[in-house]
Structure formats: structure tokens, C-alpha cells
């Protein structure tokens, strides 16, 4: 007599679906919930793994919006060093969903806060995106002026976006105790000074992240009624934790909460889909082979596996089967660039430098 587990396709069984499957070509892993059409304007945001997503989609002629660009002659390495060509605006890595919610709110209201300027050695940094200016700016006023301009471009980006791809990275963050403002790095890592009367550690839970994403969805729906969201979870483990737990416990907590939020939102809303980057890279079938020797950074073949599965489902007309080049926007000239993990800008890797 048949059971509910009889006669299922191979992908429904661990042995055939994972243990004996090619980890780079997992069959039937992802069933898209909606199309990404050739005219859909796509924006990307998230933790550093999201840079790979944006890069590969640009190379395949997907319409990735970029509202903060340098002149097209500027070499990509220089542009990336200053936070350009990484995402759809120059916001750098957005590790937590609270950070994204905050950016959205600030962009819509044009809010800049003087306390979000951090100083180091006489140079001034935007604490909300400290890595985009490696040498900082000349004054706090200049930081605020740059931020005002940036928020205007972010607002424009959201207004244009049809599909927002968010790569969820972390649950841990540092925030100002008085305002609740969340930062991508701890004070003192790139700039600023740590002061435990001003800053505190926060480890967002399921409900907070869920509510933040729901709020982001509602806000953007008011701007773009047809907007769709594609969520992924970064397979890159935490570099360090301030939670007090072992790093393995902390990383597992973080990723599992983020993954659960994605599953819950995907089930609840028609315009939210989930793409399994996390599962592809961390699958036991891959035997950690998609990770570099530090068991943290993702090898280019791992990224290729992720994007290969993505592109097998999302192929709008105009998209190409093979990458054209590493190029930031449609009007830019084609450039062939060797990409390694070193090319991904990742502030949390800086934490390793602080390990004693």
C-alpha cells in the first residue's frame, strides 16, 4: 500500500536529493514564485555575499539599478574601494534587517543624524556605511552632506525597484542606546570609539526581524504596489560574536532565525520568495567544498553553483546564458575582471584583525 512518501520524485529523498546528487546541480531545489521579467528593475542589498548576486546578475544583463555611479572610465577596483558598483546604491553592506529598515525610513524622510558621524585620526566617517570612504572625509559636515545626497539616491532607487533582492546576513549588531540606531560595524572597528554608556549589543530575534521585514514590505508597497521581494540567507558564517556564546552556536542561531523568517514570510506573502543560497553552500553533500580553507569565505565555484541554480529558473529574455563581463551598469563598457573572494568588500572580516 502506498504511503505519502511513496513515488515521490528523487529530490524528496535525502539519498537521491543530497547524498548522491551533484551539489552544484541540485535538481528541483528551487521553484520560483514569480517571474523576473526583462523590464523588471532589480535592486540588491544585504551582507557581503549579496555582492556576488549583484555581480552575476549584472553580468547576465539583468536590469540591476544603480543610482550612485562614478564616471564609466573609472576602474572597477577603484570604484569598489569607495563603495560603488557593489549594490544598487552606495550603502555598503547591510548586515541586519533593522539596518535596512532604518535606511529605508531615513531615505524617505531625508533624516541625517549628527551622532552618526564617527571620527578617527582627524578623519570623519559615516557610521552607517563606514567602509565606503577608506580614508574618511575632511569634516563631520561633509559626511552629513554626503549622507543627504546618498539618501536621495537611495530613495530614487526604492522608487525604481520592481524586485528587491535581500541577502540576510546577521542577527547581531551594535546600536546607540539613546536612539536605537543600528550600525554595520561596532564602534572602534573602522572608526569611532566604543563607549558602553552610548552603545550596546543587540541580537535580534525572530519576531523583531520578521516585523522589520513586514514593515519594509508595507512601506515599499505604498511606493511600488507591484514590488516583489526575493530573500536569501548568506551562507557566510559569523566572523566573531559578542553574544557570549561559542561562535558555532552564535552563527547557527543567527542563520537559523534568518532562515525561519524567510520561510515564514514566503509562506505568508505572495510577493515574497526565498532562494536557497544558504542550503546550496552548506549542504552536507558539498562536504564544505564550497568554502575556502577558512571555512567561511565562499569559493567562486560555490557562488557559481548558487547562481547557476538561480539562472536556471530566472532567465528573462535579454538575459544571457554566460556572463558578459563584470560591469556595473548597462551603459558601461565591457570589462573582463578576475573576481576572487578578495574582491568582496566585507567589514566583518576586519574583526579577525582584532582577534588577539
Amino acid at each position: 500500500m502506498d504511503t505519502p512518501y511513496s513515488n515521490l520524485p528523487p529530490s524528496r529523498y535525502w539519498r537521491s536529493g543530497v547524498a548522491e546528487a551533484d551539489p552544484a546541480r541540485l535538481e528541483d531545489l528551487y521553484a520560483k514564485k514569480f517571474e523576473i521579467g526583462p523590464d523588471d528593475v532589480i535592486a540588491t542589498a544585504g551582507s557581503c555575499f549579496a555582492q556576488h548576486v549583484a555581480r552575476h546578475m549584472r553580468a547576465r544583463n539583468f536590469k540591476i539599478v544603480d543610482t550612485e555611479q562614478l564616471p564609466d572610465w573609472v576602474p572597477p577596483a577603484v570604484a569598489k574601494e569607495y563603495g560603488y558598483q557593489l549594490y544598487s546604491a552606495r550603502y555598503g553592506n547591510i548586515y541586519t534587517i533593522r539596518q535596512l529598515r532604518q535606511l529605508l525610513a531615513d531615505s524617505l524622510t531625508g533624516t541625517v543624524r549628527g551622532e552618526d558621524v564617527w571620527e578617527k585620526d582627524g578623519r570623519y566617517y559615516d557610521a552607517l556605511r563606514p567602509s565606503v570612504e577608506p580614508d574618511g572625509l575632511d569634516s563631520a559636515e561633509e559626511v552629513l552632506e554626503h549622507r543627504r545626497y546618498h539618501l536621495g539616491r537611495v530613495k530614487l532607487m526604492f522608487e525604481k525597484t520592481d524586485v528587491l533582492i535581500i541577502t540576510l546576513g546577521l542577527t547581531e549588531a551594535w546600536q546607540r542606546l539613546d536612539t536605537g540606531t543600528v550600525y554595520p560595524t561596532a564602534p572602534g572597528v573602522i572608526a569611532g570609539q566604543f563607549d558602553d554608556t552610548k552603545f550596546g549589543f543587540v541580537n535580534f530575534d525572530f519576531f523583531e526581524i520578521y516585523n522589520d521585514l513586514v514593515a519594509i514590505r508595507e512601506t515599499l508597497l505604498a511606493i511600488k504596489p507591484n514590488i516583489r521581494f526575493l530573500l536569501t540567507v548568506s551562507p557566510v558564517p559569523l566572523t566573531a560574536t559578542a553574544s557570549g556564546d561559542h561562535i558555532l552556536i552564535a552563527s547557527t542561531r543567527s542563520k537559523s532565525i534568518l532562515r525561519t523568517v524567510c520561510a515564514t514570510l514566503k509562506d505568508k506573502f505572495d510577493n515574497i520568495d526565498y532562494f536557497p543560497s544558504f542550503e546550496i553552500i552548506t549542504s552536507p553533500g558539498a562536504k564544505s567544498g564550497f568554502y575556502e580553507s577558512n571555512l567561511r569565505s565562499v569559493k567562486e565555484e560555490g557562488v557559481d553553483a548558487v547562481m547557476g541554480i538561480f539562472f536556471s529558473s530566472h532567465r528573462p529574455s535579454g538575459a544571457v546564458d554566460k556572463p558578459q563581463a563584470d560591469r556595473p551598469a548597462k551603459k558601461r563598457k565591457k570589462r573582463r575582471v578576475e573576481v576572487t573572494d578578495e574582491d568582496v568588500v566585507c567589514e566583518d572580516a576586519l574583526l579577525e584583525a582584532f582577534q588577539k
Binding site: 550612485e68 555611479q69 572610465w73 577603484v78 569607495y82 572625509l137 575632511d138 561633509e142 552632506e145
Partner: protein
């Protein structure tokens, strides 16, 4: 002993070539050889087996026409002098249409940091033919001098091509731009070549060449045909004579200094 000098560059070498044919410049003729190729053709050049060569047939033809041989034998010269080769004051025109630092406030531009502006200046200068030639010739161990493009003639301000300069002047940032340009130029090229500034006597202002020097400039072609009147970039024989005299004074002065002390090495490069 006086040094044998190789001038190399783009179309701007034509003014110096005219100077050599002028009685005022003829005194240098015996120890100067000029090699030129229009545009950026010399970017294809490399040094192999003691010769500066190009795999571009047109460039080889230009070298033959201007200097008498399809390649340049490095040991035939004691000193190299790069002329023009895209080091032009308006090289950041396109960049400043999009973005500008706080010290050069231009309306409607995206703000960028001074650090990024430094980087962009340096990267833009690295794309020039002059940078290619300077880094290439530096490897020979021989003294290398560089005089960039002449400043545009001031008359450009009254024509469409002068929009960039008008923008700077109207915003009151032309001095700041000039400061930035000179700083970036010196910082990038200093390790590879001795920079010879355009003689002050030829300038109408720090940004512009006196108008009379652009009348009668010639194209770097076999017939030395005149440039059109709206060419404010290329200069004439009078300019060439003055620049040539300046360059030769500096080179000969350096040469004499070094050889007087007998250390066999040019100190300033």
C-alpha cells in the same frame, strides 16, 4: 660632451619640430631626434632588446617619418623627453560633469571625497600616453623629462570647446582645480620623470596659453598642414622655439651638473 636627446610624443611634438626648422632652434638640431605618432598610437610601444618598438604598422610608419627609423634604439640617446601625450589640463572634464569634491563645489554634481578625487586624478593620469611612455622609458635608467600638453589658448573660452573652463571659472574653482591637477601630476609622474612646466612667459593666465601661440600650428603629417582656427590645443613654431629653449636649458644644466661632479648619474631624475 652634450647629451643626445630623443623627443617622443604625440601631435604636440609638431611645434617642437617646427622650432628645429626655425633659425632660432636650429642650434639644437644636431643632437635632437624627434619621434612622434598622432593620437595614442605609441601606447602600443614596448622596449625589447634595447629598442623601443611597436607592433602597430601605422606607428612604425610615423616613427620612420618623424625620426628616421621604425624603432628607437635606446642606446643611441642619453636623455629622453616626452612631449604632450595627453597630459592636458582638461582631462577631468567628463569626471567633473558627474561629481565634485567639497573644495570644488559645482552645482548638481554628486559629492565625492578629497581622497576619491585624488584617486580619480591619479587613475585618469595613468591612462595617458605620457604615463605609458614615462614608466617605459624609466626602465632604461636614462634621464626622462616630461613636458605635458600646452594649456589651451585663452580664446577657447569664447567657443563651445571652452565649456569646461567656463564652468570652473563661473564657479570660482579654477585655481583649486589647477592646484589639484598640478599636485596629482607631480605626485604620479615624479618618480618616473622630471616634469618641465610650461614656461610662464607663454601663459596668458595660469590656465591658458597666450593666444598668439596657437596661430599657425601644424598637424603632425607629412605636409605639416595647418590646424583649423578653432584648434586651441596645438601651438605654433614660436611656442616651440620658446619651449625648446627651456627644455634644453634644463637638460643641459642637469647634464653639466652631473658630469661636473663626475658621478655619472643625473641627480634630478
Amino acid at each position: 660632451m652634450t647629451p643626445r636627446i630623443c623627443f617622443i610624443g604625440d601631435s604636440h611634438i609638431a611645434a617642437l619640430r617646427q622650432a628645429l626648422d626655425d633659425p632660432r632652434g636650429a642650434v639644437y638640431k644636431d643632437r635632437i631626434t624627434m619621434f612622434g605618432s598622432r593620437g595614442t598610437g605609441l601606447k602600443s610601444s614596448i622596449i625589447r632588446d634595447g629598442e623601443l618598438i611597436s607592433d602597430d604598422e601605422a606607428v612604425r610608419g610615423n616613427l620612420l617619418f618623424t625620426g628616421g627609423s621604425e624603432s628607437i634604439a635606446i642606446d643611441a640617446f642619453d636623455v629622453f623627453c616626452i612631449v604632450g601625450s595627453q597630459v592636458k589640463l582638461d582631462l577631468m572634464e567628463r569626471t567633473l560633469e558627474d561629481c565634485a569634491p567639497a573644495s570644488m563645489p559645482l552645482p548638481g554634481r554628486a559629492p565625492i571625497s578629497s581622497g576619491l578625487m585624488d584617486k580619480l586624478f591619479a587613475e585618469r593620469l595613468k591612462m595617458t600616453l605620457a604615463y605609458h611612455l614615462a614608466t617605459l622609458l624609466h626602465t632604461t635608467g636614462k634621464p626622462v623629462y616630461l613636458i605635458g600638453n600646452p594649456r589651451h589658448a585663452e580664446e577657447i573660452l569664447n567657443h563651445e570647446q571652452g565649456a569646461f573652463y567656463r564652468t570652473l571659472i563661473e564657479a570660482g574653482v579654477e585655481q583649486e582645480y589647477l592646484r589639484w591637477f598640478n599636485q596629482a601630476f607631480t605626485a604620479l609622474f615624479g618618480p618616473f620623470a622630471q616634469i618641465i612646466p610650461q614656461p610662464a612667459s607663454l601663459l596668458a593666465t595660469p590656465m591658458f596659453t597666450r593666444q598668439e601661440f596657437t596661430k599657425g600650428s601644424v598637424l603632425l603629417t607629412k605636409k605639416l598642414k595647418e590646424h583649423p582656427e578653432t584648434d586651441f590645443a596645438h601651438m605654433n613654431a614660436d611656442y616651440g622655439v620658446a619651449v625648446l629653449a627651456t627644455i634644453m636649458d634644463i637638460i643641459d644644466g642637469d647634464w653639466a651638473d652631473v658630469h661636473a661632479v663626475g658621478n655619472g648619474k643625473v641627480a634630478r631624475n
